[in-house]
């Protein structure tokens, strides 16, 4: 009885939302009919039903393969990083670089250098790797140190601790990573399909359909993409739900973790690790080009970019365009980051206070994650124009979801006993949040911030590319049209470097705050 009631409220809320959508869509209230009613979308889907199977199959193949490869790499890398903590610092630059790579910049390069399904698989895998790797590392490093101590006392080594303690405690975290990775894989594949010139795949279908001015079709494709991603999301959410109960600590660990585990490393070796972290992404960049044997005209090595930017005849004009673009892109990125993060935090907190609201909101949130932005943009432009508000909305929509998932996970991991302690002393729900839940989820807030920084930059660039015609996003797109390969590589490299610098800033603040609070960094 209680179980069915628990589901009745969110179902009712969803039904109300769908009803409002239907009425608003049917009456063409939003942007003069750019948002069709649900029934109109469904009728469109039915009429186009013969088109879908092949497109869906192609997208499933690419995103599924990318999902498996990206997550496998993510988990393996995560375990490796926890077993050998120094490696995490050596690979940090590369990890962040992979995460911050703007898909819109590398899609043309991938479809140029790789053939067939590969560009799609690579883009899908890239969307999964970082999220899952981070989730794995967080999960493994947040395990209960008392259980690890027990194994050590009985003579067990790192590997045994990994197997018996850390893996178990990391499972919910890894599953929550997979949850975020699933829509990422679908979107990555669709983006590569959209640009790559293949015949099949939802992205290719979307491109052909864009010119028809039929919103029903665009929304139909979005709905199908959402269903695919939503199913994958649901599977991992369900698994995570089942596992989280079995691995949560019953009581709270009161011992303060030793200081970041850095005691063993000398200043020299940590300096070396830092240098490696900076060099490694460039090394990979260079190796990628060398291994694929892409002609030098198209592919620029790091040295090629420096040459282009400082010593070529086009250097001065390139610098001017780049600085002007940066000036347009950076301020709005900062604002978008703060907005996205605040939104995610407010949402995660309210998910504790009003669980019903969360369950009703979740499907809507998922739609914003899986609806390809190329399909959403016409609607957004009609609603919001081509100004700052559009850029902000796009940025919030690409940032809040991963941040929210991490935050919600952190909040749900707070041991019940601690919360009940506050309640027992008569604290209200708000007081309990302020005193227990929010401070306890600090490592997750920082992890979410780190995750959000590169995405904020990406969001702004996407909006610039698709709607406002300003900044780095537009510069990138224009350079693609002019075959200005030097600029394509420069913008891609610069956006990655910027993301890494911002990321590093967050890490510095994070270390200070968490150390003072006696918590370990969720790295």
């Amino acid at each position: 009885m209680a179980g069915s009631k628990q589901w009745a409220v969110p179902l009712r809320n969803i039904a109300i939302l769908l009803l409002i959508w239907e009425v608003v869509g049917r009456l063409d209230l939003i942007a003069d009919g750019a948002l069709p009613g649900i029934s109109e979308i469904l009728i469109g889907l039915w009429n186009d039903r013969s088109d879908y199977p092949l497109h869906v199959w192609e997208t499933l193949k690419a995103s599924g393969l990318g999902f498996v490869i990206g997550n496998l790499l993510g988990v393996v890398a995560g375990v490796f990083f926890v077993l050998i903590p120094m490696s995490l610092r050596v690979f940090r630059g590369l990890n962040i670089a992979i995460f911050a790579l703007p898909p819109i910049a590398i899609a043309p390069i991938l479809s140029l250098t790789l053939s067939g399904l590969t560009p799609r698989v690579v883009l899908a895998a890239l969307g999964c790797y970082f999220v899952t790797m981070t989730a794995t590392v967080i999960g493994l490093s947040q395990s209960d140190s008392r259980a690890a101590d027990l194994i050590r006392v009985y003579g067990g080594g790192n590997w045994l601790i990994m197997r018996m303690v850390q893996f178990r405690s990391a499972l919910p975290s890894i599953l929550s990573g997979l949850r975020v990775a699933a829509p990422n894989a679908v979107l990555g594949a669709i983006l590569a399909e959209f640009g790559g010139g293949g015949r099949w795949g939802l992205g290719a279908y979307l491109l052909g359909s864009l010119g028809r001015a039929e919103p029903e079709r665009l929304w139909g494709i979005g709905v199908v993409a959402t269903l695919i991603a939503g199913l994958a999301y649901g599977v991992f959410a369900l698994m995570s739900h089942r596992f989280v109960g079995a691995s949560r600590a019953v009581t709270m660990n009161m011992s303060v973790p030793e200081k970041a585990g850095d005691g063993s490393s000398s200043p020299v070796s940590s300096l070396l690790a830092g240098a490696m972290a900076v060099l490694l992404p460039f090394l990979f960049w260079w190796a990628f080009i060398r291994l694929l044997e892409v002609p030098a005209m198209i592919s620029k090595t790091p040295i090629g970019v420096v040459e282009y930017l400082f010593f070529s005849p086009a250097a001065q004009s390139a610098q001017e365009r780049l600085i002007a673009a940066l000036w347009e892109t950076l301020p709005i990125t900062g604002v978008g980051l703060v907005c996205g993060l605040s939104f995610a935090f407010a949402l995660a907190i309210s998910s504790r206070l009003f669980p019903g609201f969360l369950r009703a909101f979740m499907p809507v949130a998922l739609v914003t994650q899986t609806m390809p932005l190329v399909a959403l943009t016409p609607l957004l432009v009609l609603l919001l124009g081509r100004g700052t508000s559009l850029t902000l909305w796009v940025t919030i929509s690409v940032t809040f979801f991963p941040a929210f998932v991490i935050l919600a996970q952190g909040i749900s991991m707070v041991p019940r006993a601690t919360r009940e302690l506050a309640m027992a002393y008569g604290a209200s729900a708000w007081q309990e949040l302020r005193i227990i839940t929010v401070p306890a989820s600090m490592p997750y807030l920082f992890a979410a911030t780190r995750l959000t920084v590169p995405r904020a930059l990406l969001g702004v660039m996407i909006a610039e590319w698709l709607a406002t015609g300003k900044g780095l996003g537009n510069l990138l797109n224009q350079s693609r049209g002019y075959m200005d390969y030097g600029m394509i590589w420069t913008v891609a490299a610069l956006s990655v470097i910027l993301a890494v610098v911002f990321y590093q800033l967050v890490v510095v603040v994070e270390r200070r705050v968490l150390q003072r609070m006696g918590m370990s960094t969720a790295e």
Binding site: A31, D32, G33, A34, D51, L54, H55, A107, P108, S111, L112, T113, S115, G116, A192, F194, G195, G196, G197, G198, R199, W200, A204, Y205, L206, L207, G208, S209, L210, G211, R212, A213, P215, R217, V294, P295, M297, I298, V374, T377, P378, V381, L382, G385, R386, W465, L466, A467, T468, G469, N474, N477, Q478, R480, G481, Y482, M483
Partner: protein
């Protein structure tokens, strides 16, 4: 993605009733034919009708070519595919090609052109018509970022300050135009007006070509290396493609419906749209000197228009000798 002239494809074409008697020889010869790859500049639509027809009827096979056809998309820079060797021949916009030759020393040669007149133009609604460049002053015009320099050139040629026109990115979707969020867009005039009419509005358009920006489009481009090593194949490709285009234009309404379940399957576009496209492009493709021809004064007009936007090409970038061998 690649559409090879395979046995299955041949059987499919034969089953569709297309030239059943001529096919067996074509497909027989295809087995010993030399592989040849072409990269198109966009997704499968009527823009490439001549090639689809040539493939289906075995014209390439008759020339000893085993043609593989790759469709394009927004991220596919056609010239890049011939640099990397993924294609032997590609269709490009002459502005990017000539810019790449003159500024980056790219080893390209233009050996023909599909469109004598570039089909891109300014499309607007009859209810808010923009019939000439002057009408654009104070208006919002959506332009794919690739084409911004072309539009700016056309404005300059007509004495209009580009600062007087609000240029925003165009994302290949005519919805903002139909809803009045923008006043005009730059697109293929052979294509978009149909979509607009389907939405119950009426479109009007003019070609950039007719207002001084006299350039070709879908120029046939190869690398100098290919020109040296595969001359015979290139001439064969030009001959087969010309046959395909000529037959297609005998009645432009005939072929698109036949491709509903093959070339146009799943593109998300309608056959009526392709028929409209095919009819509209006929006067832009056909030439008294034969399809693909590069007449001297047309080359000159193309070069001088590009010179207006700082792209400095010369006659050496074109090689018209292959056309003479057809």
């Amino acid at each position: 993605m690649d559409m090879k002239l395979s046995r299955r494809r041949f059987l499919g074409a034969a089953a569709a009733g297309a030239a059943a008697s001529a096919m067996p020889f074509g497909s027989f010869r295809a087995m010993a034919a030399s592989p040849f790859a072409m990269q198109a500049s966009w997704i499968n639509d009527a823009e490439f009708a001549g090639y689809f027809l040539g493939i289906d009827k075995g014209y390439y096979a008759e020339e000893g070519l085993d043609l593989s056809y790759a469709s394009g998309g927004p991220d596919v820079i056609p010239e890049s595919t011939i640099i990397t060797g993924r294609a032997d021949l590609t269709l490009t916009t002459p502005d990017t090609t000539i810019k790449a030759i003159s500024e980056q020393g790219a080893p390209f040669k233009i050996i023909g052109t599909q469109y004598q007149k570039n089909p891109i133009g300014i499309v607007s609604l009859k209810s808010n018509p923009i019939n000439k460049p002057e009408d654009l002053v104070g208006k919002t015009l959506a332009v794919p970022p690739v084409n911004v320099i072309s539009v700016e050139a056309m404005l300059k040629l007509n004495g209009i300050d580009k600062a007087d026109v609000n240029i925003v990115p165009y994302a290949y979707d005519p919805t903002p135009l139909i809803k009045g969020e923008i006043d005009a867009s730059l697109d293929f005039t052979t294509n978009v007006p149909f979509t607009i009419s389907q939405q119950g509005a009426e479109a009007t358009s003019f070609l950039l070509y007719d207002f001084g920006f006299t350039i070709f489009n879908d120029t046939v481009v190869v690398t100098e290396e290919t020109l040296k090593t595969k001359r015979k194949e290139l001439v064969g490709w030009l001959r087969a493609s010309r046959r395909g285009w000529e037959e297609n234009f005998v009645d432009p309404t005939v072929w698109p419906p036949k491709w509903a379940d093959s070339w146009f399957n799943g593109t998300g576009r309608t056959i009526e749209n392709e028929i409209y496209f095919n009819k509209a492009q006929q006067p832009l493709v056909e030439s008294p000197n034969g399809i693909f021809s590069l007449a001297e004064d047309d080359i000159e007009a193309c070069l001088s228009a590009l010179g207006q936007i700082g792209i400095n090409g010369n006659r050496d970038m074109f090689d018209t000798t292959l056309l003479e061998e057809i």
